[in-house]
Symmetry: C2
Subunit: 628 residues, 2 copies
């Protein structure tokens, strides 16, 4: 049985196997935040001929059904099938995305009052050539010379040892050794040895593995220069948008290896590109620091993440031993030291610890709030003595998940919306211009705040259908028409369900912040700074986010937007042993609060399910501006 | 161009490539102690048709040339070639050989006054199942439970860590951990974890990698039982008989990997056989101890041995870190702890250190001599306070190398000879009976002593051609006819060159012993015991070896034959942390004497080039018996 794509390839298809699975097996990936479970309604394809067996239409509305659309994950076939894949269903992977906000990371490290102490160190050794009366082994000779320099307890891996004899003779017993400190700082690990005369580079990687994006910095460890930065979408997205769908996929037979290889390949694609562009040998990349949430770090290392999603939510480990480049499967020196930023719990991972290091909040006596809003949201409150942290079940809706026309902030996304207070017609701004394909996070916040300000929705996000004919009946109840399409395109709307999801998400974030404050016995006014991190943070409009009730009603000058702090923390850790120790101290003093078991979580959450909140005293400037 | 073997296979052959190389490339191996360098004269083949290009006949005599024989390593072809391979040129690999002399190794370990403390240990853990309020990671939970049992500083490899989450859940958070102490005894390394209910075996390997033979013991680490013992010829023999030819082969392009894989495969063949026979899973083999000379240990681990044979003879290392089963490429648990017995120098390796542990001489206040006569010979003198050691350049002639009809002590070897004092005709005893194929070490010593006693050779090993017509003119000068062949077989003789080689070998051993004694400022009479080890040691006739002047003239009761002590030391090290520490202490107190640079080595050596010696006061009982 054949599955053919119009103006595309044909594949063998088995009876009972869905179009989605058949395409995936042939590396054709559809947008599918739910990972092919039939719940998100995004993997739409149009059947143009053949005997489709539609198990269910799922979320598809009548108009879409009339248009010949089905959900690929709920449809199989009993004869050859011809399909079309609409543009909005095609998953785009591997696109380049900008992330950095710190222009001069080396100067930023210096601002901690520290010099460079990179993960991979170098020492020049002049070994006395062996004689009959001084005939100890090469490795013992190395150890003796290191001891004379005060470097004791060097550990030698099998891979390293196999290179020693040839190399020290090539350099006439003069050699340069690369090595790193081990985690407990009581011993050292040999990475590589080079003969005198060779002057290899000493490079390191800072890697941020986000659920949605992967960012890699190539760093010259000799002087801390960031030689290049690269990023790509995490191709695991083809298995689902959030960590839960990834865990489900990993837990099913063989899935873990696939997921692991997928993200490793994303990283290696960037590393290989860097190596070629900058004439860096992979063997010269001697260290790497990996920062990611707990699930991402587990999958990166091939550790079964199943228990992360099962009550009581336990990772295999939070503190990672130092493993090596070969074990990480990275395109770097097989003996390279790979440090993984420690996590706190299943839903507060190394990316948050890394972010706190980058924010410096752990060095301040004043109390700060740290929020990382990405595919999910994590929050932390504290200072130089204590830090409390929690994960908010915000979900991926600000990155497009669970929103009918939601998408990431890429080409074709509506990124901002204003609604004329008189005519009630929307004006949109589209990334890259042209016909819009969907709405990204900042566009959604804009839209909901504008709809609220103009009275088209009420405090609960419920449409007032009498206000404007742009509020119309859709497949899922009332919806607001943001963009009226021509014949060939789709109308872009925000639905009642979208409103509910967005309000739930912001309520989860705000409830998290409120509860953490309460657990700490503090109130909002004590906060000196609010650090907002995450890819989302880059484009967030503070005033609108406050009006929405997503972030606390504090003066704008208290807000500091940091962008991707996970990658900056990884860089700092790569380039400073002192900051690596500081990072481990942050991790050890962070207290994780499981919000779902804190008694009044549901109260806080329900109170935040209004725009901006049921308790307007929490949003005094919003209340004043709206004239409440 | 084709190379065909009569009644055998045909292979492609290239112009200029020798028959020897062509056969080797097709896994047909010839006897070739020199490794195909044209010097040993053993890789004889008979050309029956075709255009052979004979670069040189090397050591072949006229009779052999008349018989159509050529040396395969010195002969190529310019047309298709048909050859016959005589039985005596065929290298037999993989045959089983008996080695053990200690019947009850577990009782022997107890005789040190010690209990079992195996390399791989087990501990049962009852972990409190995680809860929301006790939500640390699995590995941190393991570490906490171990700390409560006083086991601190457990190290976790990547491979181990990947198994933890599933296994502890399978057992309801009750698990059994296998682990070992690391080399410095300050930390531990996790090997494997099993869920409660599973009761896997805990097996270990003791492995002796000799230049000629490989011996493997499968040990139940729970009670010290040796479940099975196996041995095989070291298939590296196809690359040459001694360590020097192996090093040359390893140093040439790609050879190291071949040599490494060859011996690893020898070991794995035995291990796989054991696993199948005794229903042992390879994952249940959790530890191994490797004992071998420095070259064998280097090649086993894939370490370039080139510098071992270049003045000043330096190994990559003498003290091996603990590496694992995967790195060793063994058919055992990839995380298994593999301990390598430390060596002393390039020509006194771990096998000698292991042997000294097994001899117990390091525990005695009295001074003993230890001799390990194998493919080469090493000697050591000392007691519980000091040990001095040296390697004797004895070469492999007692195992057949460098002797025209020399062979190992296998089927067809003449193992003992007497010569009638009246008729001067020899009587021979052949291993396995039948037509003799050659002479093994004990046969050579028998022969030379009998020839000497009957006056057929003089003290220098020179033939008296007037004594008997059995002394005849051969291709290499005079020779003694030991066995007169029928038409189809070869006469077996001992040649003048053989005499010279045997006397050189015994002189090297005796000079080594004498010099070590002198360096220690001691004389022979102080020796309380002489331990003779090695495969050769099994069949050695003390009286004849003394008469030959190979071993000191001491009362028979001072001689203790231990057989293969390398494997026994490996067993002891596998089963006792205390003996492992004792072994390392032996290694650290052993002083290596490089005989070739001791001033009067040549004098001692030259003095020993007589039967039994120029200085008969050193052999009083021999002198008395012979009536000198």
């Amino acid at each position: 049985m054949k599955l053919s794509i119009t103006a595309g390839k044909s594949f063998d298809m088995k009876e009972g196997v869905s179009i989605y699975e058949t395409l995936k097996a042939n590396s054709v990936f559809l947008v599918s935040p739910c990972g092919g479970k039939g719940t998100c309604g995004k993997c739409q394809v149009r059947v143009t001929s053949g005997g489709a067996v539609v198990r269910s239409y799922g979320k598809l509305g009548q108009k879409e059904r009339d248009d010949g659309l089905v959900l690929a994950c709920l449809t199989s076939a009993d004869t050859d099938l011809q399909i079309e894949i609409p543009e909005h269903s095609k998953l785009v992977l591997g696109g380049k995305i900008a992330v950095s906000i710190f222009k001069d990371t080396a100067a930023y490290l210096k601002s901690y009052g520290l010099d460079f102490e990179p993960l991979a160190k170098r020492v020049s050794l002049t070994l006395p050539p062996p004689t009959i009366s001084d005939n100890i082994g090469d490795l013992e000779r190395l150890t003796r010379a290191l001891a004379e320099l005060g470097i004791a307890n060097m550990q030698y891996s099998h891979g390293f040892t196999a290179t020693v004899a040839d190399i020290i003779r090539q350099g006439g017993f003069n050699a340069t050794l690369s090595y790193s400190k081990t985690n407990n700082n009581t011993s050292f690990e040999a990475i590589a040895i080079y003969p005198q005369g060779q002057n290899p580079g000493r490079y390191g990687l800072a890697v941020d593995i986000g659920t949605t994006t992967v960012v890699v910095y190539l760093v010259d460890m000799a002087d801390g220069t960031v030689i290049d930065t690269g990023s790509t979408y995490n191709s695991q997205t083809k298995y689902g948008d959030d960590v839960i769908t990834r865990i489900i996929n990993a837990t099913e037979g063989g899935g873990l290896d696939d997921l692991r290889n997928t993200v490793v390949e994303d990283i290696n694609t960037i590393v290989d590109f860097f190596s070629s562009k900058h004439n860096v040998k992979s063997s010269e990349i001697e260290a790497a620091v990996i920062s990611g949430n707990t699930t991402m770090a587990h999958i990166f290392w091939g550790l079964n993440p199943a228990a992360i999603r099962e009550d009581p939510y336990i990772p295999t480990l939070n503190y990672y031993p130092l493993w090596n480049g070969a074990q990480a499967k990275l395109s770097i020196n097989p003996q390279a030291t790979v440090f993984t930023i420690p996590g706190i719990a299943s839903y507060v991972g190394g990316d948050i610890v890394s972010g706190i290091l980058a924010s410096k909040m752990h060095r301040s006596t004043g109390i700060s709030l740290f929020m990382d809003i990405g595919t999910n949201a994590e929050v932390a409150i504290g200072n130089d003595e204590w830090i409390m942290t929690a994960a908010c079940s915000a979900g991926p809706c600000f990155e497009g998940g669970g929103i009918k026309f939601g998408m990431r902030a890429t080409q074709g996304a509506i990124e901002s919306i204003t609604i004329d207070p008189v005519t009630l017609t929307p004006s949109i701004s589209v990334i890259g211009g042209g016909v819009p394909a969907g709405i990204c996070g900042s566009g959604m916040i804009d839209a909901i705040v504008e709809l609220f300000k103009t009275g088209i929705i009420n405090q609960k996000g419920v449409f007032n259908r009498t206000k404007t004919p742009l509020v119309r009946e859709g497949d899922e109840g009332l919806e607001f028409l943001i963009y009226k399409a021509d014949n060939q395109q789709r109308d872009i709307v925000l639905t009642t369900v979208d409103m509910e999801n967005l309000i739930r998400a912001k309520a989860a974030i705000f409830a998290g912040v409120s509860l953490l404050l309460r657990e700490a016995g503090l109130t909002l006014d004590i906060l000196e700074k609010v650090y907002v991190a995450g890819g989302f943070g880059n484009s967030l409009n503070v005033e609108k986010a406050v009006t929405f009730g997503m972030i606390p009603d504090l003066p704008a000058e208290k807000y500091v937007f940091l962008g991707n702090t996970s990658i900056i923390g990884a860089y700092l850790t790569l380039m400073s042993d002192t900051l690596r120790t500081e990072l481990e101290s942050i991790a050890s003093k962070m207290t994780y609060i499981e919000l779902s078991v804190v008694g009044d979580y549901m109260d806080e959450y329900m109170s935040a399910m209004f725009i901006p909140h049921t308790d307007l005293t929490k949003f005094p400037t919003v209340a004043a501006a709206l004239g409440f």
